[in-house]
Symmetry: C2
Subunit: 423 residues, 2 copies
């Protein structure tokens, strides 16, 4: 790595300089650089897989768990898929220079509010080496310089991936300092990165609660925390129960380890006796462990002893596993109250045929994404047609929901006149 | 004060509950409440002025400086003006519920991105009691509950103003906990406020660097720092010198103590000999103290001894006074470099007849507001036609430039389908 000997401060300062040039690049140059990255990933796949093999070997020696080893692993197939994602980003609309709003003032001044890059974005992540390329590509497309800090587990993979990307963009006329990597060593490095006020414009952590907590205690630059999702599906009295069954199963089972999966099922008492037996049977067949309140257990259509009693702590738990908490409620209002009390503001769904219930739910639920008659699993930049995403936000400031290209931009006001002064 | 005996945590919790109701209010109810505040300010002006007199008397005893005493003072004229501003806010477009974007996904899901209130906003401010009403009115209009923390200097004024506003909105059917005030006592209170994670959604400090610094060291909730403005006017070789003269004088002199005033004049060397004598003479006539580089002093048309030599520290100083630093530059590129190095990203102006120079300046200057042929003094929510503002941001995240009604909102995605699940 060309940057390996430099301090975090040096690397960030170079990224800042590069960001000034990046913000001025035309779309064609940026897209050429993105395609150059994709082509280089294809061309240098053997070298990347060899570097990854070193990380995998070290991982085996350190007895990393199987799921982590799987996330760490790169093969030719995965690399080709990463390259394709970069090519897709090249085809997306350039978010920079977008005219957000324009108006003429009383005195003839013309005001245009225009999207501009944020500047330098740091992305701090864990074992997945694909983030190195995904995040770099999104930042390049949005005119931002990126400073990457991956996990020490993936040092060899990340170093080669970043160098391949740097060389590729340089060949396309983009300064290589647009993509930098710091080693992923100790916590000092994280602190150094998180305190570059006036240099780093935003840090985005992609990882677990430990990483977020470490960052929160030291960061003086702005951070957008990617979100935990304690999500609910509420099946209303008027629900189409076929839809409800498919939505509940999909939200829980299709990919239980992700932040837009459901963790709690709320069922209106009027249809609980009809709906619970069929949906719980189906969930059990899918291997879901159920934890239900007394009313739900009584109506489950099986011996109450077969379903565990829910405990208070369950309502606040993001299982990220094949476990589902179940509660019977007496109204959409009680459902809303439950969701706003226990939810994390990520993705919430109602299944209903009632406009009144849908309207109440969508207006009163305080969450990034609120679904009517659809699975929570659609909260995703790709699914939303926004292109790739760099994470999902449950913050309310700046970006809420998918953090895609537009969310990686700020704006400026350009005001043009002919000599106006203020009186 | 009804809230005087409660802890900061109690007050914030009540504000959170109120915010849920506020976010659902229709525009008519909010506007009725705003007009009720305005009418109550008129009706209870005597009582407010009497409370203010106590603060003024304490201020005199504590020998507050004249400028501070002036900011603290409320009379019938000022109150009428505050009431009028509230009535104006009532006439503005409701920012809540605005459809920001909508699209249909490949699978038939309809996605709408809709503006929603942030929730609870805390505003921390110094001696000006008018902020109590201005900020409360902006938050009410944007569906946010507000927790105010003014200065202890204005305790009596703020308490009465807040109570008048609370009573007025209650009479219009809005929960009085939508507007709360904490006493403005010690730093513990500030820390209590700034650490209400999950309750306070945003803190906006309105005050000097000391307040910002105190907040920065304790805040765990999001903060938008209102900005310092070390602003420049650059007069290009091709400038209309009549416009340039008026713009420079206006930006420096019209109100030197505010953040959108200019602090440094940059002049292209090609027109410095013609322009400097006339503009510096005019500035001196207006009482401006000049600090110029050697070239500017040589071309000033007076004895160099009459103008102080600028020092390096001047370039980074926001004087907020009738002082101006002056530099001659060899190109628009040097001017841009100077501004990006020394500016605070607030308001920057170029005076030019060249499209090339204007384009360079507007694209390369990294600031919230960039002006071509106009004074920097227009950076203001009112001037921009956005209605009142709660401050000006030089941050790049969420809000940059005037923080007006739209900037007091977040958004949510509402997604409607007919049983879609993810495959």
């Amino acid at each position: 790595m060309a940057t390996a000997q430099k301090t975090v401060t040096d690397i960030c300062a170079e990224a800042k300089v590069a960001s000034r040039q990046l913000g001025l690049l035309d779309s064609e140059t940026k897209n050429r650089a993105l395609n150059a990255i994709a082509d280089a990933l294809d061309a240098q796949a053997d070298q990347i897989v060899a570097a990854n093999a070193k990380d995998l070997e070290a991982g085996r020696e350190n007895k990393l768990e199987a799921a982590l080893m799987d996330r760490l692993m790169l093969d030719h197939g995965r690399l080709a898929s990463i390259a394709d994602d970069v090519r897709k980003i090249a085809t997306l609309e350039d978010p920079v220079g977008r005219l957000i709003r324009e108006f003429r003032l009383y005195n003839g001044l013309d005001v245009r509010k225009i999207a501009v890059p944020l500047g330098v974005i740091a992305v701090v992540y864990e074992a997945r080496p694909n983030v190195t390329i995904d995040a770099a590509a999104l930042c390049l497309k949005s005119g931002n310089a990126i400073v990457l800090r991956g996990s020490s587990i993936a040092t060899n993979s990340n170093a080669v991936l970043a160098q391949v990307a740097r060389d590729a963009i340089a060949s396309a006329g983009v300064p290589e300092a647009a993509i930098s990597i710091v080693n992923g060593g100790d916590r000092d490095e994280l602190r150094d990165l998180a305190t570059q006020e006036g240099v780093i414009d935003l840090i985005i952590p992609r990882g677990g609660e430990g990483l977020k907590h470490a960052l929160k205690s030291v960061a003086t630059v702005p951070v957008i925390y990617a979100a935990a999702g304690n999500n609910h599906v509420y099946v209303d009295a008027s629900a189409n129960l076929d839809w409800a069954e498919e939505i509940v199963v999909n939200a829980k089972v299709q990919r239980p380890g992700v932040c837009n999966a459901a963790e709690t099922l709320l069922v209106h008492e009027d249809i609980a006796k009809e709906f619970l037996p069929r949906v719980l049977k189906r969930l059990e067949a899918e291997g879901v462990e159920l934890r239900a309140d007394a009313q739900a257990r009584a109506l489950a259509g099986v011996d109450a002893g077969e379903i565990a009693a829910v405990e208070d702590a369950d309502w606040d738990t993001e299982y990220l596993a094949l476990i589902l908490a179940v509660r019977v409620v007496d109204s959409v209002d009680t459902a809303i109250e439950h969701v706003n009390l226990h939810g994390t503001g990520h993705s919430e769904a109602i299944v209903t045929d009632s406009n009144t219930a849908a309207h109440k739910f969508t207006t009163q639920i305080d969450a990034a994404c609120v679904y009517v008659n659809a699975s929570t699993r659609f909260t995703d930049g790709g699914e939303f047609g926004l292109g790739a995403e760099i994470g999902n936000s449950t913050q309310k400031l700046h970006a809420r929901g998918p953090i895609a290209l537009r969310e990686l931009c700020s704006y400026k006001y350009v005001v043009e006149g002919d000599g106006q002064v203020r009186s």
